[in-house]
């Protein structure tokens, strides 16, 4: 990450190489050739092909490959007008629900959010509002807890908090899915024990509002990696800095923002980039949980899910390619913006050295 941030293009000149340098170059290129070939074959050429596809009309109907036509910017026009992508979600909130008590109907306070089906890009963005803060701050909070000097048995806790990371996501989705089952899951049973009335129990994966928190919870076991990286980052903060802060009379809060946060900002930044890139590509969980139907009410029709179905189900290769290319451009722009902000808040110790 630091290398990405600090890289500057330099002029590459081939003329002045000596015999020895030229031999070193040949050997170096030979060693990295597996990657060079793989990059060309599995990344560069397919990307180029995807780009070319966006200007064509390529689709299979009833098992027959239609003649390929050149359509210019037609696919992009369709993309920008595609309501399945851009439809703005409408939200209504019902604050109370009717309950029948002793034969008479009463309204009790139990808010329910109703949502009209949002477009695929909005689904991704709404989910991001839940997933990004959790994906960044939950590992940080856990790392801070594990790094506390008052914690006994740090190695034990560290290993158990990391452990679920190795579990295949298919299994963890079904474990948390079982926990969150509205009827038989332990979470709703526990809420009932706390006295939550039955009508107010969240319907989790079956509810357009609760489905996003549900997916966040289903993915919670994926934080182990980020937690360990942040913990290692915290442990790398030189103790002299904390001592200095103490001498200057800084309290816990000030010490965190003035010492800890800048020192671990590279790790946070790395994690932020990974989370954002992952967010735009998110779709395997809805594919497994709802077989890619977008249930409930289109709330889980993520952008990548739409792309996947466009290609594999509707067999429209050119429109799928256009969606893929658009996604690539969006991710590229967002990443560049994030890298641009990095100079303001990400601190690399070696820069000052």
């Amino acid at each position: 990450m630091e290398e990405l941030l600090r890289f500057r293009f330099r002029k590459v000149s081939l003329r002045k190489l000596s015999v020895k340098e030229r031999r070193e170059m040949k050997q170096g290129l030979a060693f990295i050739s597996p990657w060079l070939i793989g990059f060309l074959a599995f990344t560069f050429l397919p990307m180029l092909a995807t780009f070319v596809f966006t200007f064509l009309d390529m689709r299979i109907t009833e098992g027959i490959f239609n003649p390929v036509r050149f359509v210019g910017l037609g696919n992009y026009k369709t993309l920008f007008q595609d309501m399945n992508i851009w439809r703005v979600p409408g939200v209504r909130i019902n604050w109370t629900q009717p309950v029948v008590v002793n034969g008479e109907t009463r309204q009790i306070f139990a808010p329910q959010v109703k949502m009209d089906p949002p477009g695929a890009m909005w689904v991704t963005i709404i989910f991001g509002l839940y997933a990004l803060p959790v994906g960044i701050f939950l590992p940080l909070l856990l790392a801070l807890l594990l790094n506390s000097r008052y914690l006994k048995g740090q190695a034990f806790f560290r290993s158990l908090f990391y452990m679920p990371y190795v579990i295949p996501f298919v299994a963890s989705v079904f474990l948390w899915g079982g926990m969150l089952n509205p009827e038989t899951g332990w979470i709703n049973r526990f809420l009932m024990l706390l006295g939550v009335p039955k009508v107010a129990l969240p319907q989790w994966a079956n509810d357009v509002f609760w489905v996003y928190p549900t997916y966040v919870i289903m993915g919670i076991w994926g934080i182990g990696n980020a937690m360990l990286i942040m913990l290692a980052g915290l442990q790398n903060v030189p103790t002299e800095l904390y001592d200095a802060a103490k001498v200057d009379g800084a309290g816990g809060w000030a010490t965190f923002w003035k010492v800890t946060w800048p020192m671990i900002s590279p790790v946070i930044f790395y994690n932020l980039i990974l989370n954002v890139v992952g967010l735009f590509q998110y779709f395997l969980v809805p594919l497994v949980v709802n077989q890619g139907t977008g249930r409930p009410g289109g709330a889980t029709y993520f952008y990548n899910l739409y792309l996947y179905k466009t290609f594999f189900l509707y067999q429209n290769m050119s429109y799928g390619a256009t969606m893929a290319w658009a996604l690539f451009v969006v991710i590229l722009i967002v990443t560049i913006i994030l890298f641009g902000t990095a100079k303001k808040w990400v601190y690399y110790a070696s820069e000052s050295a």
Partner: protein, 352 residues
Amino acid sequence: MKRTTIGKVKYRLNVALVTGITVVCLAIYLVPFLFMIFTSLKTQGQISELGAPIWPAQVPKFTYEGKELDVYTVVFPDGSKRDMAALKKARTYTDFIDITDNPQYTAENPYHWEGYYGSLRRPWKFSPTWENYKIVWETINYPRLLWNTMFYAIMTNVGVLLSCTLVAFGFSRFRFPGRDLLFILLISTMFLPGTVTLIPTYTFFQRIGWVGTWLPLIVPSFFANPYDAFLMRQYFLTLPRELDEAAMIDGAGPLRILWSVVLPQSWAVIVAVTVFHIVWAWNDYFGPLIYLSTRRELQPISVAISTFNGIYGSKPYLIQAASLMALILPVMLFFAAQRFFVQGIVITGVEK
């Protein structure tokens, strides 16, 4: 003197508080494991019954003249309790008979209990239904799934180790113009959305007849990936160059140096890459899903479990048993090789 005692008490209180919070967090974090184990050992009847205990249990059945009767814990007017079988259930009363060898209340002379039987407790006895595992084992053909997944993991791991060692050695030990640019390109591909290459790649593999075989999953692993190449390169950079140079003076070529000087010092990173890779392969879903969708007999565990769970969605006990079978091996691998996981993450994570 007094101050230090206060300090000690304060310290101990803080330790208790922080450790206590951590224990609670960990318990919430890991409670689905308990849910999984308990649910996987239950019967359908227990899952759908509201008053049932959370651990796997069953109510003993009482067979009377070939009929299976439900057993309840009947409370007598004097407050004593007795487990009895319901011979005749009605909304306002139930006729109970004894289930002991020496019955006081029999079919001819049942105990007439006033009230709705649904309000009675039932004598749940701890009783795990191990059969669920047998059903899942046979339905998904577990040994075949293990073989498929191991085969996939091992073949791709060979590819990853071979290619990433070479690439990492190339990036860490040779100086040539454009090297840093190429390395940046390598790292950038980590952030590339897979879908931008998916359609032509899939179409190409389909044209050459590879869809429905292992080839599109295994062959690309021999061409290095940014994660493992980066991890190995970072590790190689930490190894002292003096030994390389000594070997070079002795006339060793670069391959020889890699084989006899660098690799013998690199066991830690090789094991780290291997354990991460096995976990990755165990988790990999999308590739096997699209390339092996028509060949059920070749599918690895994640795809098969997901299909199984789609079919048996209404039977939580089977789903949880299947999930346990899917996660048990990676978890065991983790506990066997924890230190390599931690090392690997620290190498890649902090130096980024």
